[in-house]
Symmetry: C2
Subunit: 222 residues, 2 copies
DNA sequence: GTCAACTAAATTGTATACAATCTTTTCGGG
DNA sequence: CCCGAAAAGATTGTATACAATTTAGTTGAC
């Protein structure tokens, strides 16, 4: 924990934004938030500053903080970037994954397998996240790992509902097996191609949904 | 400008850290800084929080802010990640660079050429930065572009002195020409290989220097 | 009736005050 | 003389107060 209250507040607000309780474009009034959490404006401001640099809120001078609304284009760009980061992790994993890292990766793959077999989407969603985290660690580059985790958490809310798409879960798991096999075989070019497709497909699937939401927003605004 | 005073303070502190006036490990006392800039602690704190999330300072609870000291290992990891980001930018540029983006890139390459010919290292240093920025823009992915610029600015202080290495400037410019030619020819695999080498060499060159600095620090501490 | 300008309310940005924790110094014991 | 504990000092974290700017509401003119 970096700080006492401010960090807790930041996590709470982050959660509410990610869960959609605080809607995109919504104005985050410092006094209201301070009253709601029963603290002063000071730690609220610090939390908002942190959320700004993680990209969840936008602070406009003398206007206040607003829940950032991501455009369809930006979302696609983030997924595309995520794909490149994960591709880099896989490439490095091919070159230097340790036995311990490989063990973790295999265990996580197995847990995804079980979750997929159970048909429990929420469970697969959680295991899937851990699986990808294991890939980041296997890169042997802590900085790249941290960057990947940051973007992963930022894309989290957009990945959640996506897995419910018909047949997506088993398809995803098939790709997972392919990725692990390729890494273990040291097939850099193959794993890079597979993981790019694995990640980008999520962004593409979501584009139309977001685009329609945007059209809806625009209609509401007029 | 995001805010009025706090942003100015952040830029000022960032500059002092990057320029080495504030040394790694140094304790950033809020009251002293407030007195020095003739403001209250409030905007100082906000500036420090921003610097923390950009990775320049570390805030330890109830201990205060310290200029972050990057280890040799972390530095190598950052350069390695930078190489992957730039490789991704080049790859996308091969696929979708616009004519306007290509024009900018060519102009920046030319300016590097002139700077290299003049032998003015500081000038080449500045033009080199703009050249790479043009590559990020040519990726056609604003998010990736922003991420690349962030890491670029973070690595800035470590790149500066490095160009003074004998023959490095002309070697660098040769690589620049190669990169642009490959992008224009759409040779993805080639450009990716070249840019990786172009970036990583800087990190490697610096590893031994940083390692020796660390040894020095340890000696001083004991 | 509509639009513009002025005034008042509300909100952000900064300064100051207070509380809690950590650091340092001093005093006492071994 | 050195080590440890307690108290004083210093520094961070939070709350409150004030200033500056924006926004909304009202009033007046056309």
């Amino acid at each position: 924990m970096t700080r006492k209250t401010a960090t807790v507040l930041r996590d709470a607000l982050e959660h509410e934004i990610v869960e959609g309780r605080l809607r995109p474009g919504e104005h985050l009034d410092e006094m209201s938030l301070a009253a709601r959490f029963d603290v002063s404006r000071t730690p609220i401001r610090e939390a908002l500053l942190g959320l700004e640099s993680s990209g969840l809120v936008e602070i406009r001078p003398r206007r206040g903080a607003f829940v950032r609304r991501v455009s369809a284009r930006e979302l696609v760009e983030m997924f595309e970037t995520m794909a490149e980061l994960e591709a880099a992790c896989c490439r490095f994993a091919c070159q230097r994954m340790t036995d311990a890292q490989e063990d973790v990766l295999m265990r996580r793959l197995q847990r995804c397998e079980e979750a997929a077999a159970s048909g429990d989407v929420e469970r697969y969603y959680a295991e899937n996240e851990l699986f990808h985290t294991a890939i980041y660690a296997a890169s042997g580059n802590s900085f790249l790992e941290a960057q990947s985790r940051m973007l992963q958490s930022r894309l989290k809310p957009f990945r959640r509902h996506q897995l419910h798409a018909r047949g997506r879960m088993t398809q995803s798991q098939t790709e997972h097996r392919d990725i692990v096999a390729s890494i273990r075989a040291g097939e850099q070019q193959r794993v890079v191609d597979v993981i790019r497709a694995h990640i980008v497909v999520q962004g593409e699937k979501f584009t139309s949904l977001i685009a329609s939401l945007e059209a809806e927003e625009r209609a509401k605004a007029s």
